[in-house]
């Protein structure tokens, strides 16, 4: 059945309530950090701030540590509580979400490393407009995914699933214009390639945000929509009383 509101804190065992609440809190904290990492990595490139880029690379470790901590907490809950129904789905969703957040963190640090190279090469800012546009889009997706997780908001989550298609088409058209730059000026190939890696990383971040949204639907509705065509999704949700 659907879960709404703060259902995870109504157990007879208060300790269990607390453990589940902590899982969510820690996931949100990790999400906040990852969101900041993406923001900083892109800002480092656009503002030519290599020390900020280096901080992003260094911070990736903190993201990894948080994933390990969350996984450990989930393992403890599974072992001690044998959660069922929406509690079980929460634990599974948190494990999966933490893994996607960690990957977003990796992508942020990839962006930062490419930013450092671009800043050093100082070879113009071809493609920066596209980076700015797509980065704003995917950052909003990450933020919305985390919000939908915190509020168990499937409507917002489903909106994201559709948005990922838009990011994909923005990414494709950006790639096409960067290809043109490379053909026009062979000396720019190396720096244009770095920009392409950054765009690729941003596009992947969009995919991970999309995954997060799918876990929210799983958590709330008990539906696994991971391999469902977005076109069929709304119909599917309606049929399940969504």
């Amino acid at each position: 059945m659907d879960i709404t509101g703060n259902v995870h804190s109504q157990h007879i065992s208060r300790q269990f309530n607390q453990e589940l609440d902590e899982l969510k809190t820690h996931l949100m904290a990790m999400g906040g950090l990852v969101e900041k990492q993406v923001q900083d990595a892109v800002a480092a490139l656009l503002d030519s701030d290599s020390s900020l880029a280096e901080r992003v690379v260094a911070n990736d470790r903190a993201v990894n540590d948080m994933q390990i901590k969350i996984d450990e907490e989930c393992t403890q809950v599974l072992a001690r509580r044998q959660p069922t129904a929406s509690d079980l789905r929460l634990v599974l969703a948190v494990i999966r979400a933490a893994s996607d957040l960690e990957r977003i963190g990796d992508e942020a640090s990839k962006i930062a490393r490419n930013a450092i190279e671009l800043i050093e090469a100082d070879n113009g800012n071809r493609g920066f407009v596209e980076v700015r546009m797509i980065s704003e889009h995917v950052r909003r997706m990450v933020r919305d995914a985390l919000t939908s997780f915190a509020r168990l908001d499937t409507e917002l989550a489903l909106k994201l699933v559709h948005e990922d298609d838009e990011v994909d088409s923005e990414y494709k058209s950006a790639m096409r214009s960067l290809m043109t730059f490379m053909m026009e000026d062979a000396r720019a190939i190396s720096s244009v390639l770095s920009v392409m890696w950054i765009l690729r990383a941003l596009e992947r971040i969009g995919d991970h945000a999309n995954n997060l949204a799918e876990y929210v639907v799983y958590l709330v509705k008990g539906l696994d929509i991971r391999h469902t065509d977005p076109e069929d999704l709304d119909k599917d949700m309606l049929e399940h009383g969504g």
Binding site: M1, Q82, A85, S86, L88, R89, G222
Partner: protein
């Protein structure tokens, strides 16, 4: 599983799964039961699929044991019990005129929470029902005893000491002996009332393994307070509360995504 049919239209107890009559071993129809003034079961209707494990879960006093006992007329012994409604076993109403209770209980065997072997040897325990029925040669009886002990996964542990007292066995072994005693008379249905609640984890797993293996031969109905156990061994689970059937469905979905709030609250341990 293909034997399950589509859920029926919502009735008072919503979210039900149904089985075709051909695939069902037992059919319970509008069954109500009261102990004097106390209503224990309220208008239960469900079918229990053949050669599957069906678990009844629910809080204490929800009527799950009462329902189990109604399936082989154990309530007959209690004059204060008032029953309405029907229980059909393979197309025959068990309260019908022509039904002999002893024969019904042979066909629908029962195992209780505390192992209750008789104060006699291991062999005699298993042979007890066979001797009562009579008509078997010693050779045939020996074979049946061995078969039942093997089916109950106890043979290898006791084959060297069949003449030893049943009370020399551990609790878990005693419970399997009781299951062997029930199996020896060839039941079609085995009712298990908290069969492992007095046992240690290893003995519990042996009983659960046994339940899973037995379903190729007979229909099993299990009452348990241990929800992980219901989740582990059963194919279908019925959740009862206050004598009503709240939700009945495939165990896989009932424990990951129940349809009703009452079920969700119970299996996740929330206040209602």
């Amino acid at each position: 599983m293909p034997i399950a049919q589509q859920p029926r239209p919502p009735s008072k107890s919503a979210a039900l799964i149904d089985f075709s009559p051909e695939a069902s071993s037992l059919a319970i129809r509008d069954l109500s039961l009261a102990y004097g003034e106390t209503q224990a079961l309220r208008h239960l209707t469900l079918r229990i699929p053949r050669h599957r494990v069906t678990a009844f879960i629910g809080p204490s006093g929800c009527g799950k044991s009462t329902l189990l006992r109604a399936l082989n007329r154990l309530h007959d012994l209690n004059d204060a019990v008032v029953r309405q409604g029907e229980v059909w076993l393979e197309g025959e109403e068990i309260h019908g005129r022509g039904v002999a209770v002893a024969e019904l209980r042979r066909r629908v065997g029962m195992v209780f929470q505390a192992p209750n072997p008789f104060p006699m040897s291991i062999y005699d325990n298993v042979a007890f029902g066979l001797r009562l029925q009579g008509g078997l040669s010693k050779r045939k009886r020996d074979d049946t005893v061995e078969w039942a002990l093997r089916a109950a996964a106890l043979w290898d542990e006791v084959k060297e000491r069949l003449r030893a007292s049943a009370w020399s066995l551990s609790g878990g072994q005693q419970q399997r002996l009781v299951i062997a005693r029930t199996l020896a008379v060839g039941p079609e249905v085995l009712l298990l009332d908290e069969p492992a609640s007095a046992l240690d984890p290893i003995s519990t797993l042996k009983i659960e393994e046994l339940i899973r293996n037995l379903k190729s031969q007979l229909t099993l109905v299990l009452v348990t307070h241990n929800m992980q156990q219901a989740a582990r061994v059963s194919d279908y689970t019925a959740f009862l509360q206050d004598g009503e059937l709240v939700e009945y469905g495939p165990t896989d979905t009932l424990f990951t995504n129940p349809r009703l709030r009452r079920t969700e609250n119970y299996i996740t341990g929330r206040m209602t």
